[in-house]
């Protein structure tokens, strides 16, 4: 087979669905087996393309949830009720189906050990997906870079990868914005300066920060971090939105 992915060029390929994992009521992880995968870096994404019978095509970008070291390519997709692509991926896709994708894509929202740390990962909602790839990569290479995570979700039931994150060796903290169960030990409410100052290393230690989530969440977190004295150039952001 001729190698499809010439370096730097993107080619569409058909990946088979190996497994589907329900993460929360609204999110599902697609475990994929692309035939020609050149490998990826933690934080990169893929474009997924659906083609209707009449030829209409819709294309969306999804973060890669798996580490480069994992056996399969995983995407975790949140169902947006008025979306063109996500309802199909979350509700209709079945194991054995084929999914058209291209990637890996992106170089900005990527963490590699050579970038150093300490590493602070701040995620809102499904913005945790690329951060999970970074955490898994960090664990897989047994990195000694100190890492902390602040993850904002609406309720316990909406925490994606909950068991994995609770078990992680990294310092992972949660805030629940809408409902907290009895005896909840984590933070409450939306992220703010107090919370970020509590979780983060001081600006003088120059952490490298990755913030991913809905646009408003990212703007708030990045703004607060800059106000706390963190260097804008060491804060990398990725915004999710209904498109």
């Amino acid at each position: 087979v001729e190698r499809a992915a010439v370096r730097g060029r993107l080619s569409w390929q058909s990946a088979s669905v190996v497994e589907l994992i329900d993460e929360t009521a609204r999110t599902r992880t697609l475990v994929l087996d692309p035939p020609d995968w050149p490998g990826h870096r933690a934080g990169q994404h893929v474009d997924v393309r659906l083609t209707a019978e009449d030829g209409y095509q819709a294309q969306r970008s999804y973060s890669i949830a798996s580490a480069p070291e994992d056996d399969h390519l995983e995407l975790t997709v949140e169902r947006l009720d008025d979306g063109e692509v996500s309802p199909y991926l979350v509700d209709e896709l079945r194991p054995g189906d084929e999914l058209e994708l291209r990637g890996p894509i992106g170089g900005y929202f990527v963490w590699e050990e050579s970038l150093g740390g300490p590493l602070l990962l701040v995620g809102g909602g499904s913005g945790v997906v690329p951060l999970r790839a970074m955490l898994r990569h960090h664990a897989a290479i047994e990195s000694l870079v100190p890492v902390r995570v602040l993850y904002s979700a609406r309720s316990v039931d909406e925490i994606i990868y909950r068991e994995e994150l609770v078990r992680a060796t990294a310092d992972v903290r949660f805030t629940l914005t809408r409902a907290q169960p009895d005896g909840w030990q984590g933070y409450r409410g939306r992220i703010d300066a107090t919370m970020l100052a509590d979780v983060s290393w001081p600006a003088s230690e120059r952490p490298i920060v990755y913030v991913c989530g809905p646009t408003g969440f990212v703007e708030t977190a990045a703004g607060v971090l800059v106000a706390l004295g963190h260097e804008p150039a060491r804060i990398r952001t990725e915004r999710f939105g209904p498109t």
């Binding site: 730097g8 993107l10 992106g106 170089g107 900005y108 646009t215 952001t237 915004r239 939105g241 498109t243």
Partner: protein
Amino acid sequence: MSALDGNAIAGQLCEVFGREMTMSTGVCAGCGAAGRLGELETYVRGPGTVGRCRRCKAVLVVLVTIRETTCVDLRGLAGLELEPQEA
């Protein structure tokens, strides 16, 4: 409509430029601000894709694809510094 960022159009930029572009730096012809294309303020819901300067909101990049032909308008960019490619 809420804006996304340049990460969301990394695939389209790669199609146009033939290489990863989100780490490359664009200079706004309007206000002179320099920023990674990954940080572009990006609107993807229109008939085309629009990337604006995060500081002054000027239009830097417009990509419109019609019948498989992509039109690229970069008039808002005064400069583009390409990040070295990974091996």
